[in-house]
Every structure is written in C-alpha cells, then in structure tokens.
Amino acid sequence: MQFDAMAPVPVARRHVLVTFAMEAVTTFAIIAFLGAVAVAVMGADPLAAAAAALRQTLAGQYEVAGLIALSLPLMIVGFAAAASFKGGFYNLGLEGQLILGAAIGSIVGAHVGPFWSPLHIAMVLVAGGIAGGIVAWALSWLRVRFGVDEVVSTLLSNYIVILFAIYLATYPFRDPTRFNGAMHRIAPSARMSTLVEGTELTWGLAIVVAIAAVLYWLLHRSKLGEDWTLMGRSPSVARNCGIDARRFGMLIMTSSGFLAGLAGAFMVSATQHRYFANLGLGLGFDGILIAMIARYRILAVSFWALAYSWMLLAADGIEQEIGIPSEFAQVVIAIVILGVAVRAGLVSWIVAQVRHLSKPAAPLPATPPAPPPAEES
C-alpha cells in the first residue's frame, strides 16, 4: 500500500487512489452499518437517526463550514501522529504537546504584539509548535541517550504537561475576569479572519492545505520520505543505508511534537481565541486514531479527519434529536479501528480456519509456524 512512497510511477498512483477510494468507502460503510445497529439496539429508528445526522451536518453552508472548521485541528494532529508512527516512533504524548502548544500560543497571542496580523498569527502557530516540539524532542533525547522507552515516557508526559498548561492558565496568565483556568483573550491581530461569515471556518483552511501539501511531498514524494519509511520499517536497515538513526529518530519525534503543538495553537488562533483548562482534551488520541485508520498516509489522514469530525457532529445531532448519547459514535469508531489494526491477521486467520475445515483429514502441525512480521505500519 505504501509503494507510492517508494516508486512514484503514474500508473501506480492511479491505482493507489482507486484502492484508497474503495478502502474508504468500505470502511465508511462498515462504520455506518455498525452505527445503525447501535442505534437500533438502543431502541431508536436508524433511518430517523441518519436523517438527524444529515440535517445537523450537511444541511447548508453553515453546517458544512462548521464541519470543516472542526476537522482542521484534527487534521494537523493526525499528521503529527502519522509522522511519528510512520517513522516507527510511538509518540503517545500528542495530547500534552497539543495542549501545551495551545497554552503557549495563547500567551504569545495575548501578551506579545499586536503586530501585522499574518506575522502575529505565524508567531502564535510557531510558538505553539516549538512548545510541542521541545517536549517531544526532550523525550526522544531520553530515548536515544538513555534508552527510555518512548511509549511509556510519552504517555506519562501527557499528565505532567497538561497539568503544567493548566497551572499557567490558573496562575501566571489567568484572565481574572473569567472563571478559573482561562487565559487572556488573544489580540485581534492574532486571530485568523473568518472565511464564511457567521461560522468558525477561517483562512486557517489555507494553512492546513499548505501543511498537508508540504507533508505529502516530504513524506511520500521525497528522499526524506523514503528514509522516514525505512526508519519505520527497520531501523537497522536504515542504519546500514547510512542514516544516522539516532538523529533521524529525534527529527521524527520532534517534528511530530511540533505539528501537535501547532494544532493546539491553531485551535487558539482560529476558533477558541484563548487557552482554558479543558481545551483540547482527547484530541491527541483522536489524532492517533485518525492516523491509524488512515494508515499514516497524509492525504488519507485529511480525508479521515473530515470523516471523523462528521461522525462526531452527526453523533451530536443524533443526541439532540433522538437522545442517544453521542459517545456511541466513539465506541463504533474504536471498534472499526480495532478491526483495521487486526485486519491482516483476521483475514489470514479466517483463511486458515476455512482451510482447516475443508481438509479435516490432513495431519496438521501441532503448532503454527512463526507469524510473519506485521506489514504496512
């Protein structure tokens, strides 16, 4: 599936797009089916739920604009997850990096400037990105210097970093006119201007498209992307190919943290206009799920971030109109992603069972041969 990164041949490219479309349609159909089953199990009419979902999300330009606006930060954090997982590093600290990015971006937006608006927005975004990048850099340094397992260290870092961000919002940078734990509103020059009047959709859309284009080129079309994929598949082969695995690993982690922090700062600049204690909770893990279902391909991440946002909004709509708690959507999504994660094994398991049934007389080996290494990750 990732041949597009290795050999950019036009024929292969069309093929990849067709495959992706089929895959997306199938996955989405499964999600819709499970969602309908869940709605029916909870005693409501799936058709009414579908109508409610469509009404709330796609009825007019305001709904569509709101949907796109919601998906933009998810796309960036999805890129962050895809970048680190594709490179073979499990940065599970995206949540904390995103929230710290939002807090630092909010501080820069409120207490530095005002400047010429594009410059100020860029400063907010870069400051947030650097904040997230520093956290990820420090953790990757611990990994390459002392061998500290990044899965556990990044998971623990979330709690520390989020508490630190809340501390910043509760004490030094608190807006005294607001409830506990909210920072000052950022200056007007640090806010992105609206694209569709009356909605939260801003010119930030252009920024996200630009980021996606650059990342697509870097990760799927360039020599750097080849090395990146190679690191993810086999660090030892990468080392033999002359890649400095330590420095490259730190680059992978740091850029992932930078993107996560940028996603947080983006939320502040585009929609929220300040950091407050609950901002961004859960988004880091949403990004990880999106990257997983997209199997770490940048354009697929964009698509699935949009689809994921649609599902969240649709679930909210169903809750409003029919009264089914919106969390059922997350349950359905998680089940489907589990299915994606075990897909290869599930297929070969079923094949093995069928074969087993079709020739029961054949003496089977008592133990199966060693499993092949998991592909496409």
Partner: protein, 303 residues
C-alpha cells in the same frame, strides 16, 4: 507522626490498585508482551464494580463480576494481539479509547449521568479488622483503615513471587518472554499461554479497578484511572521481574502522591503537586533505563 501516618495511608491507598494492575503488567511482560491496555481494563473494572455493587448491593459481587469482566476483556485483548497478530501498541491504544468511551456511554445510558456517579446505596469494600495491632503506634492507624482487597495484595505478591521463581509454570513464563521459539520447540502451545496470561492480566486489572472505585472512595467517574495504568506499566518496566520491588515502587509513588495532597493543602498551586507522582515515575524510569543502558554498553565493550 500525624504526617507520617497520613503519608503512609495515602501511599497505600494510591499503591493498591497500581500493584494489582502492575502484577498483571508484570505477568504480561514476563511473557513478553508490554501491555498498555492496563489503563482501560482497570477503568472497565471500576465501572463494572460500581454498577454491580449498586444493583446487587454487595461489594463482593461487584468485585467478583469486575474480575470476571476483566478476564473476558483481557482474553479479548489477547485474541487481538496473539490470534489476530495485531500490533500490541496500536491495539492497546484503541482498546483504552474504546473502553473509556464505552464506560461513559454506559454511565449515561444506565445512570443517566455524565461525568461521575455516586450513591448512598453504593457500599465500599469492607475494612479488615486487625485486632490488637490497631494500638501499635504509627502502624496501627495506617493499617486499621485498609480494605480486605488491600490486604489481599500481600498473599498475592507472595504467591506470584513463588510461582515466578520456583515453579515450572514460572520458568515457562520467563522462557516465553525470553525466547518464544524455544518454548514452542519444547512442545508448548505458545499462543494458548499468551492468551491465558492476558486473561489473568485482565482479571488483575478488574480487581485493581474494583479497589479504585470501591476502596477509598465509593464512586465511578469517567476516566478515573487517570493514568494509573500507565504508571503501573512504567513501574513494571522499572522493576523487571521482581514482585516485591513492584510493591515498593508503587508505595514510593504513593508517598509522592501523598506529599502532593499535603502540598495542595499548604497553598501551593494545585497542579504542581498533582504532577508529582508522574514526574517521579518519569525520573525513576530515566534513572533505571540509563543504568541498564550503561551496563549493556559495558558488557558490549568488555565482551
């Protein structure tokens, strides 16, 4: 003296769920799987314990069903990583997410509340009477407030230590973690062993969750495991295959948590002390990893 009593009591309260989840994690890691689903399985255990206790009125039934459900969830996790060969981290992250969302959903459907549920009908795990021991200074006040489940840690750790060191089963588990092929060539069913390990790990996480929700507090709140599963996992990486070190490390982090609570009362910004157990865990992880790293290097240069 009061402070010491407070700190030790807080340490035990914090440590017990972590020790149970950590035992599960240790068994799993001994058998070669670094299980990050501890967090979600523990949360599910907490929810089931509260639900069953509320409906049936007995915390013992709550614990029993929590262990049972934990076992089923652990087995399911095992099927996904062993039978279906899913990546243990990817499946683990998603599993945690799934169980987190599922508990919130069920909380909302069954109890009609968002966030947290508590009720006067909800009885906690009974406290074990310790007789004359209660009059011993320092230890008395600390130990007299502990539940039966908290006390159960002691025989459990003894038993696991014995199984791990001195039985063929322990040897097989260790061999499974070191070299699964060797175990396979010895004629054992590796897949079945790993599944069993995951089931036991899930049962321990269910018990950890029950103690978390019905031990010191009697409530369920969404996401109440709050990273304890991850702390348990970090501790397992720290201590390797030493069960008693697991208890000791959990107690040390518990003391850090207790100091945090005390600092909060002393007008320090609340977030800084709340960070304490996580910071201490991370620092300890760095220190131990660095030592192992250096030792590994020394071995390499001397060989």
């Amino acid at each position: 003296m009061d402070l010491a009593v407070f700190l030790l009591a807080a340490a035990i309260a914090y440590a017990v769920p972590i020790v149970y989840a950590g035992l599960g994690g240790q068994i799993s890691l001994t058998a070669g799987d670094l299980n990050i689903a501890l967090e979600g399985e523990m949360l599910a255990g907490a929810f089931v314990a509260v639900l069953v206790t509320y409906i049936l009125g007995s915390p013992w039934l709550g614990i029993a069903v929590a262990i049972l459900v934990g076992g089923v969830l652990g087995l399911l996790f095992g099927v996904m990583i062993v039978t279906l060969k899913g990546d243990v981290f990817l499946v683990g992250i998603t599993y945690n997410f799934l169980l987190g969302a599922l508990t919130v959903l069920l909380l909302s459907i069954i109890f009609g509340v968002r966030g947290s549920f508590s009720s006067p009908q909800l009885t906690g795990i009974p406290i074990m009477p310790i007789g004359p021991l209660a009059h011993v200074p320092l230890l008395g006040p600390v130990l007299s407030g502990q539940t039966y489940v908290a006390w159960l840690v002691v025989p459990m750790v003894f038993a696991w230590g014995y199984v791990l060191r001195s039985t063929p089963l322990g040897l097989r588990l260790r061999a499974l973690g070191d070299n699964a092929d060797a175990v396979r060539s010895a004629g054992l069913d590796v897949a079945r062993m790993r599944l069993g390990v995951q089931m036991i790990c899930g049962m321990l996480c269910g018990l950890a969750g029950a103690q978390l929700a019905l031990g010191t507090l009697t409530l369920f709140s969404s996401g109440m495991s709050a990273g304890r599963g991850f702390v348990a996992l970090a501790i397992v990486i720290l201590v390797g295959q030493r069960p008693w070190m697991l208890v000791l490390a959990a107690l040390l982090f518990g003391i850090a948590d207790g100091i945090g609570i005390k600092l909060q009362q002393a007008d320090v910004p609340a977030q800084i002390p709340q960070m304490l157990p996580y910071v201490v865990t991370l620092l300890a992880l760095c220190a131990v990893s660095a030592r192992r790293w250096r030792a590994a290097r020394r071995d390499k240069t001397s060989a």
